[in-house]
Amino acid sequence: MRQEKSSCSCSILDSSQALGGLWLCAENESFPKIEDIITRMQDDKTGGVPIRTVKSFLSKIPSVVTGSDIVQWLMKNLSIEDAGEAIHLGSLIAAQGYVFPISDHVLTLKDDGTFYRFQAPYFWPSNCWEPENTDYAIYLCKRTMQNKARLELADYEAENLARLQRAFARKWEFIFMQAEAQVKIDRKKDKTERKILDSQERAFWDVHRPVPGCVNTTEMDIRKCRRMKNPQKVKKSVYGVTEESQPQSPVHLPSQPVRKTTKEDFRKQITFLNMQIERHCLKMSKVAESLIAYTEQYVEYDPFITPAEPSNPWISDDAALWDIEMSKEPSQQRVKRWGFSMDEVLKDPVGRDQFLRFLESEFSSENLRFWLAVQDLKKQPLQDVTTRVEEIWQEFLAPGAQSAINLDSHSYEKTSQNVKDPGRYTYEDAQEHIYKLMKSDSYARFLRSNAYQDLLLAKKKVYVGKDMLPSPSTS
C-alpha cells in the first residue's frame, strides 16, 4: 500500500501510525463506558447536566455547560468522593475527545465556569478515525478562508499549515479546491448550527493533531493494534475526499489466525475438565482464613504498612536499612521470620547458613546439602547438567556415598532410573522427599535448638569464634 509520506511533523507520525495507518485497535474497552457516561450526562430527564444557550456580549453561545457542572455530575453519578478525581476523569474524557472547552485547544476539564460542549457522535473516537494529513490540510486551509477573528489559526496550527503546504506542494490546488467546497457547504448552514459544528470539528482536530506538548490520546499500544477489527475497512476521509492515489483495498498485516475448534481441542478440554473436577479444592472460608493469616503474619515486615526500621531509605535518603541487612548479623525480626516456614530459612542466605551449621553440628547436614545441590543443578546451563547429575549421585546416593541421604526404596529406585537419562529434573522426586523429611525433622529441631533460640532472643552474636558475651536482651 502506497503510504502518503509527508515531512509534516505535526504530531502523529509515530510508529503506530507510520506502519500503514490502518491500525484499528481492539484496545479501547473504555469507549463504550465513556459514551454511556456522556449520554447519561446529556439526558435531562434523568438528572443530566444543564446545557444552555448563554448570552454573551453581542452574541449567543449555544449548547454549553460549565466545567463545574460536569464535575458535580461526575461526583454524584459515579460515586466519586474527591473533586480532584472527578476533574482527572473529566479531563481524560475531554482528552479522548468526547467533551471540549469551547475556547481552548487544550483538552482538559476545569472545575469552574469555563464553558464546554459535547462532541458530535460523528466525530467520536470509537468510529476509528485516522484522518490523513490531506484532511488536516483541507481543514487548516478552510480555516484561513473564514475571516473571523476568533477562528484565527493558533501559532502551532500556522506552522503545521506551512509544513503541509511544503509537503503537498504539488497537490495544493486540489486541497485548496476541497477547502473552498467545504466553505461553501458550511455557509449554507444555519448560523447557530455552524457555531456548534465548527467547534466540534475543531475539537476533533485537537484530538488528532494535538497542541504540541499535550498527550496524544490516539496513540495505541502496538500489541493491541495487531488484531484488526475491520480488516476490509477502507480509510475514510473526514471530508469525503477520495483521491485516485488512494487504494481501495488496504493491506493488513497478519493477525493471530482464528482456528476453529477441532475434535482434538475438545478432547484436550475434556481431559482438562476431568482433571479439574478430580482436583481437591478448599472451601472459600478456609482460603479466606489462609490469606488473612498470611498477611497478618507478614504485616510487620511490610514497609508500606509497618514503617521500616531504622528508616525507609527512599524516604529518609539513608541506606542504613540496606547496610544492616548486608551485614552477617541478622536482626531479631529477621530471625523470627525463619520460624514462619522452612522456605523462609532457605530463602535467606544467612538463615540457610545458620540452618546448615546447626545440622553440621549434629552431623546430619547431608539432607540439606543434597537439597541445595539439586537446587544448584537446576540453575546450571544445559551443557553442565550431565556432569552435575553424576557428581550428586556420587556424593549422596551411590552405594558407599560420602554423604549418603536416606531415601525410601521406592524413591531410590525411581531416582536410579532417572539418573540413566540425566536432566535438570532427575532428582525432583528425591528432592521432594528430602524436603518433606527436613520439614518435619531437621527444621523442627533447628527451631527448638539453642542456636536458633539464642538468636531469636538476641542473646548471642552470630559470629563463631568471637567472645560470646551476652548482649542485653531487648525483648
Binding site: 488484531r227 479439574q276 479444592c281 472459600m284 490469606l291 507478614y298 514497609p303 508500606f304 525507609n312
Partner: protein, 394 residues
C-alpha cells in the same frame, strides 16, 4: 477387553517405554510391541473416531456445568466478608520519591535488581537503561535494533539483563563495569518467537529465561545454548504477561493473554494445570500473591481480580464505577495486603486486597502507566509510563 496372550517378549513397550510383557500389534500397517495397557488404550482410541465434533462439544459443555456445580458447593463465603474482622488500614502517604528521566519515548517495562535499588527499563524507541534508582544515576544503556522493547528483566546475579520486543527475540546483555563498555557487542540472542516478545523473566538462575509472546505461546530457554527447554501451548491469542511462582521448590508460573484467560503451567511437563476465565477483556498483567497460593490480574476491562489456586476460582474483584480505563500492571506489597495497580488513565490505584476497597489513588504520571513493580524488599514500588519517566513511590 479379555486378553489372553502368550508373552513372547519382556522389554520396553514401544508406546509407553515401561518394561512389561509385550505383544505384537499392528499400528498403521507397521509391527509394534505394546504392553497390555497400551493395547487396551489403542483399542478404545479407535472408538473415539466415531465421536462427532458435536458430541465432544456437548460432553465438554456438560463437564463445564459439572465443574461449576462442584465449585459452587465450596463457595460458602466471600473473602471481603471474612475480612470484615480484619483491622482497617490507616491513611497512606505515598509520594514520588524519585523521578527517573532519560528515556526519549514511552517507557514500556521495568524490573528490579535483587540489590533493591537498581532497575532496568525499556522503551518504545529501543532504549534499555540500567539505573541506580536510589541516586537516579544511569549506569548502563543500550539501544536495541528494534522499537517497542516491551519486555525487560534483571538477572538474579545482577550481572546481566534480558530484553526484547518487536524483534520477536529475547536477548541477554551481560553488564560490565568497563570504562568503554560496548553492551551491544556482547549481546546474546536466546529466545526466538514468531511474534513480538511481550514478557520475559529469569528463573531463579541466570541460566534460564521464561518468555511470553504475541505468538500465543510461552517458552523456557537455556541461556548458554539458546536451546528451547520447554514450550507452553494453550492460550488462544497473544500472551501478554507472566509471573513465576515465588516458592523455593515450585516449578510453576502463571500467564495472562488476549484470550481473557489466566493459565497456570507446570514448567516440567509443559502442561496447563489450572485455567481461569472471568475477565471481560485482555489480561495485561499477572502477579503472584507472596505466599504463592493466589495471584492477581489486571485487565483492559478496568478491573483487577484475585484468583486463589487452592479454591480454583476468582475470589475478589477490585473495581469502581469511576475507573473505566484498563489496568496495565499490578503488584503486591510484601505482606500481600496491598495491591498496587497502574492504569491507562495515568493513575495508580492502591487496593486493600482482603477487604476489596480502594485505599488510595496516586496522581503524578502524565500519560498511561505501563509497568509497575514492587522492590524486592517491599520498601518502594516503581512505575513506568508513556510520559517517558519512571517514578519510585514510597
Amino acid at each position: 477387553m479379555d486378553q489372553t496372550f502368550l508373552a513372547i517378549v519382556f522389554g520396553p513397550c514401544d508406546k509407553c517405554s515401561k518394561n512389561k510383557p509385550l505383544r505384537p500389534v499392528s499400528v498403521k500397517s507397521e509391527q509394534r510391541s505394546y504392553c497390555s495397557l497400551c493395547v487396551e488404550m489403542m483399542a478404545t482410541e479407535g472408538l473415539h473416531e466415531n465421536e462427532t465434533l458435536a458430541s465432544l462439544k456437548s460432553e465438554a459443555e456438560s463437564l463445564k456445568g459439572k465443574l461449576e456445580e462442584e465449585r459452587a458447593k465450596l463457595h460458602d463465603v466471600e473473602l471481603h466478608q471474612v475480612a470484615e474482622r480484619v483491622e482497617a488500614l490507616g491513611q497512606f502517604v505515598m509520594k514520588t520519591r524519585r523521578t527517573l528521566k532519560g528515556h526519549g519515548n514511552k517507557v514500556l517495562c521495568m524490573d528490579w535488581c535483587k540489590d533493591k535499588r537498581r532497575i532496568v527499563s525499556s522503551s518504545q524507541d529501543g532504549k534499555v537503561i540500567v539505573w541506580d534508582s536510589f541516586t537516579t544515576n544511569k549506569e548502563h544503556a543500550v539501544t536495541m535494533p528494534c522499537t517497542w522493547v516491551m519486555a525487560c528483566a534483571y538477572a538474579p546475579s545482577g550481572c546481566a539483563i534480558a530484553c526484547g520486543g518487536l524483534d520477536n527475540k529475547c536477548s541477554v546483555y551481560p553488564l560490565t563495569f568497563e570504562k568503554n563498555e560496548n553492551m551491544a557487542a556482547k549481546k546474546k540472542s536466546v529466545a526466538m518467537h514468531t511474534n513480538y516478545l511481550s514478557a520475559c523473566s529469569f528463573t531463579n538462575s541466570d541460566m534460564q529465561i521464561l518468555t511470553a509472546s504475541g505468538d500465543g505461546t510461552c517458552a523456557l530457554w537455556d541461556v548458554e545454548s539458546g536451546q528451547l527447554l520447554q514450550s507452553f501451548h494453550g492460550h488462544g491469542a497473544d500472551v501478554l504477561c507472566l509471573d513465576l511462582a515465588p516458592s523455593e521448590t515450585g516449578n510453576t508460573f502463571v500467564s495472562g493473554g488476549c484470550d481473557k484467560k489466566a493459565m497456570v503451567w507446570d514448567m516440567r511437563s509443559g502442561q496447563c494445570v489450572q485455567s481461569f476465565e472471568t475477565h471481560d477483556s485482555d489480561i495485561n498483567s499477572v502477579r503472584y500473591y507472596p505466599s504463592g497460593d493466589a495471584f492477581a490480574s489486571g485487565s483492559d476491562d478496568a478491573t483487577c481480580r484475585l484468583y486463589d489456586l487452592r479454591a480454583d476460582r476468582e475470589v475478589a474483584i477490585y473495581s469502581k464505577e469511576s475507573i473505566i480505563f484498563g489496568a496495565s500492571s499490578v503488584d503486591f506489597s510484601l505482606s500481600g495486603r496491598l495491591l498496587f495497580a497502574g492504569y491507562n488513565d495515568y493513575t495508580i490505584n492502591v487496593w486493600d486486597v482482603l477487604k476489596g476497597s480502594r485505599v488510595s489513588i496516586l496522581f503524578g504520571h502524565e500519560n498511561r502507566v505501563s509497568t509497575l513493580r514492587v522492590s524486592p524488599d517491599g520498601t518502594a514500588f516503581c512505575s513506568g509510563s508513556w510520559d517517558h519517566t519512571l517514578r519510585i513511590w514510597a
